[in-house]
Subunit: 803 residues, 2 copies
Amino acid sequence: MVVCFLAAVLLYVLICRYIDMDFKKGLSVVLACCICVCVVRGQMSESRLSDWVNPLIGTSGMGHTFPGACAPFGIVQLSPDTDTIPHNVDGRYQAGVYGYCAGYRYEDPTIVGFSHIHLSGTGHSDLGDLLIQPQTGELSLNPGTADNPDGGYRSRFSHAKEKASAGYYEVVLDDYGIRAQLTATPRVGIHRYTFPKGADARFILDLAHGIYNYDGKTLWASLRVENDTLLTGYRITNGWARCNYTYFAIALSKPLKSYGYRDRQQPKYSGFWRKFDIYHNFPEMAGRNIVAYFNFDNTETQELTLKVALSAVSTEGALRNLEAEAGGKSFSRLCEDTKQMWDKELGVIKCEGTDDQKAMLYTSLYHTMINPSVYMDVDHRYRGIDGNIHVAEGFENYTIFSLWDTYRALHPLLSFLKPDRNTDMAKSMLAHWQQSVHHILPVWSLMANEGWCMTGYHAVSVLADALAKGAEIDRNVALRAMVATANSPLMTGVEDYKLKGYATYDRDATAASNTLEYSYDDWAVYATAKAAGFDSVAKEFCRRALYYRNVYEPQRGFACPRYGDGRFKEGMDPYQTYNEGFIEGNSWNFSFHVPHDVFGMMRAMGGEKVFRERLDQLFSMDLPEKYYADNEDITADCLVGGYVHGNEPSHHIPYLYAWTSEPWKTQQWVRTIMNRMYRNDIRGLGGNDDCGQMSAWYIFSAMGFYPVCPGSAQYVIGAPYLPYVCVELPGGHSVEILAKGVDDSRRYVKSLRIDGRPYDKLYITHAQLCNAKTIEFEMSDKPNRKRGLQFEAKPYSMTNGDW
Amino acid sequence: MVVCFLAAVLLYVLICRYIDMDFKKGLSVVLACCICVCVVRGQMSESRLSDWVNPLIGTSGMGHTFPGACAPFGIVQLSPDTDTIPHNVDGRYQAGVYGYCAGYRYEDPTIVGFSHIHLSGTGHSDLGDLLIQPQTGELSLNPGTADNPDGGYRSRFSHAKEKASAGYYEVVLDDYGIRAQLTATPRVGIHRYTFPKGADARFILDLAHGIYNYDGKTLWASLRVENDTLLTGYRITNGWARCNYTYFAIALSKPLKSYGYRDRQQPKYSGFWRKFDIYHNFPEMAGRNIVAYFNFDNTETQELTLKVALSAVSTEGALRNLEAEAGGKSFSRLCEDTKQMWDKELGVIKCEGTDDQKAMLYTSLYHTMINPSVYMDVDHRYRGIDGNIHVAEGFENYTIFSLWDTYRALHPLLSFLKPDRNTDMAKSMLAHWQQSVHHILPVWSLMANEGWCMTGYHAVSVLADALAKGAEIDRNVALRAMVATANSPLMTGVEDYKLKGYATYDRDATAASNTLEYSYDDWAVYATAKAAGFDSVAKEFCRRALYYRNVYEPQRGFACPRYGDGRFKEGMDPYQTYNEGFIEGNSWNFSFHVPHDVFGMMRAMGGEKVFRERLDQLFSMDLPEKYYADNEDITADCLVGGYVHGNEPSHHIPYLYAWTSEPWKTQQWVRTIMNRMYRNDIRGLGGNDDCGQMSAWYIFSAMGFYPVCPGSAQYVIGAPYLPYVCVELPGGHSVEILAKGVDDSRRYVKSLRIDGRPYDKLYITHAQLCNAKTIEFEMSDKPNRKRGLQFEAKPYSMTNGDW
């Protein structure tokens, strides 16, 4: 630095002499130059999009997000786990478990360790595989408790010494004085631990740790010390993922000094192993409940870097992943590479707005790029739902499809922003179908297992939407898969549904919502079959797409469960979420769930006026607390009146005004929801992010439109949240969305121009959007009550409400 | 039949008319022809070698053989299990378990079911995977007990309705009236069940059953009903094989009517599976302790055939094996194919002798071709000891190497009779070494696991012997593996052994026998290194090969354990098997364990006279019962004097007379041993067959020679047991071994001619044997006391006893 400065001064003196310039005058020129450079550099660093990401958003409250490090769509999410509440005790569900879906709660005082796979924002959980915790001092092989952290390997920590950003996490483990830094490539978690000088250096690898753990969840774990800088192994677990294989390879930055393990469940059969001391420096460890430790010399360097590569295929696969993604690279280089990956992925959207708005937008975008996750080795080999190892020919295989959530906005968003990835996800679903013993598309795809979580067969919506937007998927294969899935007897109530036109409450406790969901999904099959010219399939599913009509009680105009003999459930409480025939939603919200035939739904409710007033009432009602007091998925945080934003079935509702005589009310309510449900804060998410669905809603709404009916290739226009958004589409084309002066008061759309031409409709098609250069909103503090009233302006509806 | 007979009569009448022959005359011609045909057919059927095999030999007493069906060297041994004594209860070893190594005891009254993998003749056990039991009447999903068979799915049976032959087993399950027929290809077990008319038809698949089972041994089992005639699945067990993967595919000859399963250990985590009735007709079963059942229609046909293909790789692999080996073939065709495989493999030896002698010889040959077993799919993919899936390039991969037993005679026998297979076994051992985290050759290879059973590193002997006999193995790679193994610190006491010249009794409870075994193994390394010109290795291991000298107590001339300070164990009881420094053998027997330097051993004992008299004493002593009263491996059945034939360390001892002045005594004792230890009877084996080692000893001895020192390429000549043996060698060359008039009295060799020329030596080399046409023994009822006395006649000895 000093040398550089002296050299620069010398150069300056020489140049001044050469051009014969006054020293002082020259100095001011230099100063100006320096300022320019600094400003430019400042802008450059400001323009690093990954810096806007705040992974701590949602780590408290309902978000269920994790703060750790991951690469875009990677299978590794290396993150601190702050507690390990077992999911049940003596067969009973444990209270408090729900909060630990992501393994981390901001308010917790201790970190148990850093594990490698986390679900982002779910309401049910699993994983937390391969927990690593660095340690000094006395060896401790049990995790300890939050009340008594000294009784185990966990450590206290403080948020003052915690940093989280896209692809990077850092914390100091106060009990040990160890600084932990984490980063990740798609398939490799990288740990850098700096131990205090003079201390022992050790890390614990707890192969029995897990999220939603229970005693015996790990069926088997195995570990080989290949040499003094390489470990390999795997574990098999029986959790939400019924049988989950996690292979690993761990490269160590310095040689092992010694190692060992404890088996907390001594094997009943020890056979001839008794002849060895297998617990100390024996390079082959295995068991049902094992925790290993590894000691290092800490004298020459206090740093220890671990590169932990994962594979669902084999330890060979993990080694290949390690070499391909992290071989020969330093922690810093890998961290920078991952940040650049994030910059590139996030670069799909440029925007203007306040710092908080930008943090919220880019964090949302970040949250849409964690799950689904790439589920294959670098050589394209992956574990299929049939347990066999397949090669993904011509696509990347993905897992973690939370489809009841993500068919709504996440997949449409990816279809728009990352169409190649979304196509690969669709292909992954088709591969799943081909390998499924049930011969159905995924419901909740989880690490080569079917998680069976929630209802409907919404993979058909994802396929229909991708096809409608031009994805290169074999339409015939897709349609075969969609029809097979829609006809599978495994779908609760579907047999009655097919026979009677509705799932019957006699045999299906969530018959009303199931009928509504099936009905929409069937529309997606219908639309796809129609576009492909499969007339008989189209005809059958056209009929089924209208079955929603059968569950609206004519007197009250609410969706209501119905018995096999035709009777509606008497006294159904439309405010009540549970035991009234719906799943995770009450009739007030679910009755709006006919995204494919809004005019038809309007008629089912009693006409436009009833429908519109009911929308108004939904957003402004005062929902008595008893309706959400004991509800995990609905809290005061996630309510706008009786509208539940924190859970998915309602996400499209604010956009339904488009079909009414007061379309402007969408603009009013969407901004209110955004302000209340999305904040740059640890409690900033109004509900479970649900693998990016909540975030995808935010991004669409911030751009000013939303896919109310995926599969229709239409977006219903609301109003932009930000004054400027530019979307860089894959082909190099970009769309600018302008809303000059937009803010909480100027939230209303006065007029709209596309590429300079006035545009009066309330929807925009996918093709229009992808070809437009500018979409210019003129904003106002007063609604334009006349805009979008004519029939031609209305978005898609399967019928006009004529029965 | 009747139609044929009438047609034949008609034809005969017509022919007689046509050739104008008298009817009666003609009749006698026809009769003569018929007799000829019958005789020829009779001879043909008599010449079917597989018919001589009696798989029931050794199924009672000590043999530990199984009666079921298998193909030569196949991984499937489909056999009835008659009981399932858990290997331990509350951590304590269970008495009686030892007898059930093969799953079957002839004296048992019930059959639990038919399982697919069995060890042949071992003294420790595992496997018994995928138990299938056909059933009628009330569904029962637990095995029941021998005392109360009606309490479970097991059935009574009687030996009157049992048939066992090479590749075929049949029995009637009396409780159900079901006839069960079994056959097998190398990778597929085929069951044919004939149910009583009118009954239900069902089979049970118990995925928790096993040999040496315990509660929790099955880590996980999974089963998919792919369609109504195909099941796939796998199970993972933690037994002797620490983690054993058995995948399967089961093709059904008629469609399933219904099915279900019970999980005896209800999962703690049932997740969203609760929404289905997974226990009935749900095509995806899984759990830790599950037993499934499958119901069939029994009205049209009472037969049900199951083809159960195994793989250690994947269900895809199992399906490939199924298709390749059993696709499109009937039970009868497959059974006949397997019999033909046996005829071909057994055809390597033609012989004359009594029926019992032939049964014993061919059954012995059969027993040498069960284990080791081919351990790879038809596409050459296999599971390695590292848990990864490998492709066996240019060889067939084998498992089940009981090397402490089989290096002695089984591998030399295969090296002689089936050199290609033995070469592939050697290559399998090298692959094991390359994949082993311990970087050693196998000790007891068991289904991609190291079983660590018994002592020494005798794989080096197998490699040395194969190389000495010209096997095409990379000599350099082999030597690297041998040296690495001989230096592995895992070998008990080897560090002391290397440092002090003997394993020390302070730190090794079987220090004396270990020293003797290591010393021989080191000779094998030395011999290989010397032949390959690796002088420094040869020099080092030449020294180590003589370390046996360090454990002979000078006063008594017995091998004796020795402490680190040089002292011998005081008062070592040479008759006692346990706690005297030896493993599974007493000093009386183990003191003869220097096969590579018999002259040196002679000196260690006190000279030729002492040595010879001690041999005499060994065979004629009256070993007090207290020395074998509580010993699993030594019983009165397996003793000739104090010589223990039922366990391996002594197998070469009767041949040691060759180095003495009374070589003829070998001829005397070998025949005695053969007569007493090998009988065509259920209790016909004097000890555990040990994966063919006992049988290989018999075959060599029956031919008249034995490989005392594998690796030397010499066989020590005894005397033939049979008057005629012809060995068909792979190249098409055959060797006839003649011993006209040999019987129990004419057991002595008067003279010997090879290809007509007199031959005076007491050994024959591998090359001589493979090139000879006839080896003609002249037998006598009196020993030729002068034969083989000159030094030149003596077999190999590393030294002449000059220290």
